[in-house]
Symmetry: C2
């Protein structure tokens, strides 16, 4: 390893620097300042982990110099305005190193006090164990689950390019910033890193750079125990440029590498920075012991002695604080210049400014365009809800220019292509993103686009493959990001593709993610309404769950009930019903057939379509939607757990709680005990009707 | 592209060959036979897709020649004994091309009749839409969800090396076979392919080969629209050898490449084979239209004319059938030789033969070693169930030599290291596998190890990261593979790591996967019992859900009830209880504290620990475990949906249905309304007790 410009291997400061580290703070040379600043970041991190008696000192100690060089010389940011839309994004993908980020934020003057650092990992602090977007100014995304931050960053860098193509004019450059990622071995080992890096390479996202903290250590031991990748060669295979810094404490080499990143924009850059995990804590440095536990008071005291660092925890030398402030001032000047440009641009291009507010996810326009498709839908025709969704999206896209998205290579099946052209390398003005067969990176990039602001992302795949993107969808919910997921082919009615492609447990598995709105429309009218809900929901992610197969259009009557209660009645007997058939999606029309079978037996059934179970549950709880007096048969082609939770003691639930089979959809449904006759017979049993009257053909109901 | 030895671009057979394709079947030269055989596979696939009016002809048409060359010259197999343990494994990772596999199986004489090919994608056939292990002899794994097959194959190839290291002796080579994968663009774009290929490269699995069907087309268009990877360079970066075949119809080049694969064994091989999707169907070949829809009668008829193929669907020329039979005969001879060796080996090494039955997943030994840890556990001490799990595993490992596994880089946290050394490149006699930070590939490789036979795999990670491996776990359940997943850090009690690391919905999301057994022990005794359940369960996957934090040991009393009903009483009032507190895992000891608070108020609480909710539900349904006469408060630190489904009308449920927070575990629990006082007050409200008596401190119960 080159040692040019690096600190002594022990981490010790030179004697005169040790002096200025103390309260006295004498004069200081630039190179000395860098050493002092890196040491400050290291000790802030080590002190906070020690105080919390929990956390990860290894990454902050190893990468403090790189982070300092980036933040003090290259990162475009204004700590006073953490939400400046044209700031560079810095993503700590290796989120366990959160104290590095908190130390940086503090030193550069973000609104994060030393007291907050002292409260690291305490309930209600701004310094949670892993960085969380929201409570902490300057945190761009919630990281910790490995690989997610890197993939978020791909979305952010893509959003930057797409907005630049839309907004920048010959006179005004209002979108012009970079996305920097600090990633570790874990990020790179995770599969999502492949999907995300491959997508970024294809799209030639030249303003994206990944700094790889190459420390050769994972939790279980030397990284080589489990991994022998040539990471740089791998990223080169995706079309990335690769740079090397042989010594993570070599300020000049780091500075050159980051400057080189900023020199060209034709493809993303991968910088391998060789570091020593836990650098400076000589008892543990370079070993897994440095990764995820407090250094301990003895090791930390020894490190203090060697660095000549004051005993007081959370010490920040005045020179370092001053350097942070100076840099912040320069950032503020840049920001003020940008605001002037932005103001001129807004005046010159009010439409652009209105359509693409750069500081937030643009809210939906007046959704009147969906009304004819929803309230105005006429009963009688047949169409798959995935097709109805395509129609809704086609109607919505022209009035909601910020809406962009695509599919994980299933656009023709999910009906999610929209007018406006494709996004491709150098072609960022398009609206349709070809995410490729990369569900996980799609969902994480959608999160990144939403976090970036200025655009509203959607994505699509088959419902069964929601499993592939679940970790990213969970993070969307945790962060409250308004991404829209279109999941088609939503049940065993997928048919011939068989059990690997037939969702059974996926629908319920989505419903139990806190904060995710799940909508399963019964027909084209409800599908348009579902898009209305999704577009209007800026509080978190929405999932539309849609049929592959054609379904009868039930029409727009009663949709206001869906808006208020999440459910509507699609068949109401003139008298009080003997039984209620409550279903979602494709099982609503099945229930209508069952209701006719029941009517032939003199049993009157009300049929209720549940578009949004969560909303209905709320309405039932609050009493705004009274519980039916007649017993209810709840029906859905998926695991019935959630419906059983909702059902009253006299109710019955029909679902599917085993895997499907390959065959024509309706045969598979019959095979699994899902048919109109089964619904009808179950309803009869539920109301305790005698078995007099014409026999209802079909299979035995399931237990 | 080289055209040496390739069929004419139109796919047409030479005139004389067209004759033998017909019923007459004249004499034929070897090169002509290859053409004829490849055409046979193509037409069988195209005819079956046409008959089903659904399916994927593109891959079979493009790769028929490569598949024929592999199966007729290189694959070690005996069609009469599809379960021969020392056969080569052939994995169709691109499972949508299932008809290629079915056509191969038929032509080589596996027990798969033409009638089954005619019933492609029909309910109950042996030819489901995607290959399914079980119904179809010769199908090695269930594929379709992309990337899974490739990762299964890594597990199979690893199992081969590990068994070879254990079983082969100087005199007897009983384990010596290869694993071949046919993979498409989709497989390679999925993140799991990165994890699996990186792991295989690290472990130098030299008897693994991936044939990459490089056809430049995905569903949504040219592959380059979404992907610009240099796939070969990427695999080289993992340490794989790379080979090229420029023309997928070049028999000689394919033969050379497969022979080269068999020449060396020091690292896995990646063979790029350039193909034309839908080759021969000139109207659609080379385009996405060839991928996933029937060719249509006109295109198929035109293809028949150009190939000189008989009009009768499902035609197999006698020469091709004969060639398949001859190859099958050669395979049978190899198998018979192997059986002789195996018999000698079994006699010479009865212990090895007993410990490592090569034809199945070895069943568990007498589990008496776990009894002292379960029934004999003495109440009073405190230990985390993850640590108790480590003790159980340490006890089990010596008596169950086939048990192998490891962790996704969290061995020290999940307590899953076992004696016997590490598995590494060239070191396959070890027992601990370092899967790396690759949860998804870990789970899929575990499936591959189980499918291979001879070993019993386990793996481990944090419960929250079950999301990362969910698609592979689902397939384990669908295939009924007895893999054991150890999920630790199972609730918001994870504490300081915060909401990204605190499972909320994961436990319930596992319980709703059909066929997955989920166990959440309350203490060390139940943990040992859970390992007993897991070891004994050969019918499907088992998930152990374990605490990070210490829990009181409740002792071994009543464990027989757990065995029978999935639950046991850990506190029984002398009289009949006023209320039942039923909980799982760490909430059992919480309930015991609550019971004491209640006792102080004169309310007698029975406390029930639910180790396996599914088993308890069955017992309640069957009546073998009577429903309590007193009202029940159900408590679990996760989404409560499933418990609400179980609860009777007088019962109450306490759970967590929002994301957690970073802070000390018990503070987080308090913050989320999970405490003994909340449980006690909820119980009081449930039984309708008056609020007389000493106040119970704590937070308000959640609605």
């Amino acid at each position: 390893m080159s040692t040019t410009g690096s600190a002594p291997a022990s981490g010790a400061l030179s004697p005169q620097l040790a002096d200025v580290a103390g309260p006295a703070n004498g004069t200081i040379q630039p190179a000395e300042l860098d050493e002092l600043a890196a040491a400050t970041l290291r000790f802030l991190a080590a002190d906070a982990v020690q105080a919390a008696n929990s956390g990860h000192p290894g990454l902050p100690l190893g990468t403090a110099t790189a982070a300092w060089v980036l933040w003090s010389r290259h990162l475009r940011h204004d700590p006073a305005r953490a939400d400046w839309p044209d700031r560079d994004r810095f993503v700590l993908s290796a989120g366990h190193g959160s104290m590095l980020l908190y130390a940086l934020l503090h030193v550069f003057g973000y609104d994060l006090s030393l007291d907050e650092l002292r409260r690291f990992r305490q309930l209600g602090s701004r310094t949670p164990g892993h960085p969380e977007v929201g409570p902490t100014p300057g945190v761009e995304t919630t990281t910790g689950p490995l690989g997610q931050g890197l993939a978020n960053a791909v979305g952010m860098a893509l959003a930057e390019r797409m907005l630049a193509a839309r907004c920048n004019t010959a006179e005004h450059r209002v979108v012009d910033h970079r996305t920097w990622v600090l990633a570790g071995d874990g990020d790179l080992m995770e599969g999502i890193s492949h999907e995300a890096a491959s997508l970024a390479g294809r799209l030639r996202l030249g303003k994206l750079a990944v700094i790889y903290d190459d420390n050769n250590v994972t939790i279980d031991g030397p990284a080589e125990r489990s991994c022998a990748d040539d990471a740089a060669a791998r990223f080169a295979s995706y079309g990335w440029r690769t740079l090397w810094v042989d010594d993570g404490n070599d300020v000049a080499a780091l500075d050159r590498a980051f400057a080189e990143v900023r020199r060209i924009e034709d493809r993303p850059t991968f910088i391998t920075v060789k570091t020593t995990i836990g650098y400076g804590a000589v008892e543990v440095q370079g070993t897994p012991a440095a990764h995820g536990a407090p250094l301990g008071s003895a090791t930390l005291a020894g490190m203090r002695r060697r660095f000549g660092w004051p005993d007081t925890p959370f010490h920040v030398p005045t020179a370092v604080r001053l350097a942070g402030t100076v840099r912040a001032g320069a950032g503020a000047q840049e920001r003020v210049r940008w605001e002037r440009t932005h103001a001129e641009w807004s005046q010159a291009h009010p439409d652009l400014a209105a359509n693409f507010p750069l500081d937030r996810v643009p809210s939906a326009p007046d959704l009147g365009v969906l009304k004819p498709l929803a309230d105005g839908a006429t009963a009688g025709a047949r169409t798959a809800t995935r097709k109805a969704s395509g129609s809704a999206l086609q109607a919505l896209a022209p009035v909601y220019p910020a809406l962009v998205g695509g599919s994980a290579d299933l656009a023709a099946s999910t009906n999610t292509a929209i007018p406006g052209g494709d996004v491709g390398p150098g072609e960022y003005a398009g609206r349709t993103i070809h995410f490729g067969i990369r569900e996980h990176a799609m969902a994480a990039a959608m999160n990144g686009i939403a976090l970036h602001g200025g655009l509203r992302p959607f994505g699509s795949t088959f419902l069964v493959f929601a499993d592939y993107l679940r970790p990213a969808l969970r993070l969307a919910a945790l962060m409250g990001q308004p991404v829209i997921h279109v999941f088609t082919h939503d049940s065993i009615y997928v048919g011939e593709d068989g059990p690997t492609h037939q969702p059974i447990e996926q629908l319920e598995s989505l419903r139990i993610i806190p904060g995710l709105t799940v909508l399963r429309p019964a027909d084209a009218a409800e599908t348009a309404l579902a898009w209305e809900f999704a577009a209007a929901n800026l509080d978190g992610p929405t999932a539309l769950v849609l049929s592959r197969q054609d379904l009868p259009v039930l029409g727009g009557s009663g949709l206001d009930d869906c808006r208020r209660f999440g459910a509507r009645t699609v068949r109401a007997p003139s008298g009080g019903p003997d039984v209620v058939l409550a279903a979602s999606g494709s099982e609503v029309s099945l229930s209508l057939v069952a209701a006719e079978l029941l009517a032939a037996r003199g049993v009157e059934a009300q049929v209720v379509s549940v578009l949004c179970r969560e909303r209905l549950e709320g309405a039932l709880r609050s009493g705004s939607y009274p519980r039916p007096t007649a017993p209810v048969v709840w029906i859905e082609a998926g695991v019935p757990t959630g419906w059983r939770a909702l059902a009253g003691p006299r109710d019955t639930v029909i679902g599917v709680d085993r895997f499907g089979a390959s065959g024509p959809g309706h045969e598979v449904a019959d095979h699994l005990g899902l048919s109109a006759s089964v619904v009808a017979r179950t309803a009869l049993a539920t109301v305790g009707a005698t078995s007099a009257g014409p026999a209802i053909p079909g299979r035995t109901p399931r237990a």
